[in-house]
Symmetry: C2
Subunit: 400 residues, 2 copies
């Protein structure tokens, strides 16, 4: 039998490690012959754009390089399958291409949108009597998938954010004047990554002094009051804010008009910066950690990369055992020592759903994170991958 694998959604540092997990497990499994990579996610299965991965991943060294290469080596997509009962044309194309290449199992590495694809495709294949299996392998830096304890990709993002916020704390503390530094962190609806900056407390940092998540309401007056309270104690106040935080209309200074007359929204970081400038008047700057949060493999978490590979290989085992329409996930048995197992759940339980940061781990004033969350986050950022370097730069694996 042959198998196929594809990658979908926004890049992370760990998606290629999950691909390696699928690939390595296939190599170890005598029943599996070819391993196809579908280019640009499910689009490659629809258009029959597949590559033979054994032709491009040729050695253990290639696999090591792939593990340290961020983003999706097979490309990605944002394609969502239509409902099969309304339009089954793409389903028939996918089935035809799967059968043409004698693919018995399809692995989809992605987030909650991709689990929708896993669910729909597996239901369709079953309905037409096909026994081709479809397995979802989770990934997202947002850590917002239900059921799983955490998502591959999140630990590396959190490690980058922790290291970088700590460096920004040093950078912000050099002058003798009062200042406010606002760090905007990814997470449109769920504040996991922003909340994870609390891990710095394990290394005796007091900052970030204020942490704001999209799960909690914020308005301009509360924000300014919080800042003033912190300024009484700290010369350089550090604020971590999730990009998804919104403040009510009347306080907003983030609607800007360029000189072509276009209105556009700047980020929450700039909005809060402008508020401090206008209403407090001290030195202030905002910093967006931007895509570096999801692609800074040079400081990835070894735990995350190892787990991403593990969950990929577990996906293959589950497909071989006959499961389909499932997502593999992590169940945490213990924080200290950190112990997880890999389980499966119906992809429909995860598809299109979000898991928010628990309110019980937010303080009463809704501007900080509790110590229980530190225990949750810490295991996920442990360990460093020894990065292969060339000419002083990390080496990335590329398709020739």
């Amino acid at each position: 039998m042959n198998i196929a694998v594809a990658q979908s959604g926004g890049p992370t540092c760990a998606i290629n490690a999950s691909l390696v997990g699928v690939f390595k497990e296939a190599l170890k499994t005598p029943a599996i012959d070819a391993v196809f990579g579908s280019i640009n996610g499910i689009e490659g299965m629809i258009k029959d754009e597949l590559i033979d991965l054994k032709m491009v991943i040729r050695s253990n060294e290639d696999m090591e390089l792939l593990r340290q290469t961020p983003s999706t080596v097979l490309g990605s997509c944002r394609y969502k399958l239509p409902a099969a009962d309304e339009d089954d044309e793409v389903y028939r194309k996918i089935q035809a291409n799967l059968e043409k290449h004698r693919i018995q199992a399809f692995f989809y590495i992605g987030g909650n949108d991709s689990m929708d694809t896993v669910d729909k495709l597996s239901v369709y294949l079953r309905s037409v009597g096909s026994d081709i299996r479809v397995i979802g392998i989770p990934k997202t830096i947002d850590n917002d998938l239900p059921i799983t304890d955490h998502t591959p990709g999140f630990g590396s993002a959190a490690k980058y954010v922790a290291a970088t916020v700590q460096e920004i704390i040093r950078d912000s503390s050099v002058y003798s004047v009062d200042s406010v530094t606002i760090i905007e962190i990814m997470g449109r609806h769920a504040g996991w990554l922003t909340a994870s900056t609390c891990v710095l407390r394990a290394n005796d940092e007091i900052a970030p002094h204020l942490i704001y998540l999209p799960e909690c309401d914020l308005d301009a007056d509360k924000f300014l009051e919080d800042v003033r309270i912190m300024q009484a104690k700290h010369k350089a106040v550090i604020v971590a804010v999730s990009e998804g935080v919104r403040i009510p209309e009347e306080n907003r200074t983030d609607i800007v008009v360029d000189n072509f007359g276009h209105e556009y929204l700047s980020g929450i970081g700039k909005t809060l910066e402008q508020l401090v400038k206008d209403r407090i008047g001290c030195k202030v700057r905002s910093i967006e950690l931007n895509v570096m949060q999801r692609c800074s493999s040079h400081i990835c978490s070894k735990t995350d990369i190892d787990e991403a590979e593990l969950i990929g290989s577990e996906g293959v085992k589950r497909a071989l055992a006959g499961e389909s329409g499932k997502m593999v996930y992590f169940k945490r048995l213990s924080d200290v020592p950190y112990v997880i197992t890999v389980e499966t759940t119906d992809a429909s339980q995860v598809a299109n759903k979000e898991k928010f940061f628990p309110k019980k781990w937010v303080n009463h004033a809704r501007n900080d994170i509790t110590p229980e969350a530190v225990r949750y986050f810490l295991p996920l950022i442990q360990g460093e991958v020894k990065i292969a370097m060339k000419n002083g730069m990390p080496v990335h694996f590329k398709l020739k």
Copy 2:
């Protein structure tokens, strides 16, 4: 005799390594007793805010941690000495404090403004018959000091930028649609750091496809034409632009008005992003590497950190040999093998001056860098410091 050291100007990853260089050399020198650290640059010498560094840097481990800690452990300032013949009050205060603590040599780690301080203070002390020596130790991520081949701090910034731009290239190449990614890099007047992204060609990256420096004129039409030419060849076009690049008024879309009616300037990255959005209409985003360029010690250049320590220790030797009013600097003897020596020059040769990126290393179309520059940059980003970690995060040295 006692000595004192201070740090000034914008943070880098290497300033603390130069402090370690001064400190270690002092420990090795029987003639030197106390090593004082002046808090917030020359301001500490004026206000008599000194700390005994032997009381806070207590072990080799402390020195190792200090080497891997970004920014200035002693704080910084932007203070500029007045002309001594107009106002000698601060000079008299500094001299009094130096003499009070029996300080025979003062080391100032900083950029071209700090070399102005070194020059003026040394001239003043000589003019009043003092033999207290003043030595400048260069640092700046901008690499824009005259005389010296390069500046401590630059190599680490360039290494971070190269690694990060490479990661952004991967991140930008995942979807099947045309896109433009604009990366804004520090350097207000000199384009060294932006130009250094050309090192990626040594590792077979074609991107950045366009590199713009403040040393070269740019206008909107030329920029858009450049982008269109690259789009004919590359699906994901990557642009590296120095924050100091300006485009003429009539093309500018960067004057934005917030809803309090304030006009403010957004960065060149946002300006170019808006131009692509308005005039080409494809997917486009801009990314500011921001202060991470100057503080990301977790991926510092070992060459840079070692050289920063070396030049600090050389400064002490030069002061003991009787030199004053000088800046220590690097002279490059060879690219391959990379060989440098440390020399001294009059601080007045560097004070308030800038060294621009050489025009001969810019291509004819003024949108790329030549291979000769790759040979210049490569040695500066070589090697990795083994970073001490705790709880999955780098350990920073902090004053208790």
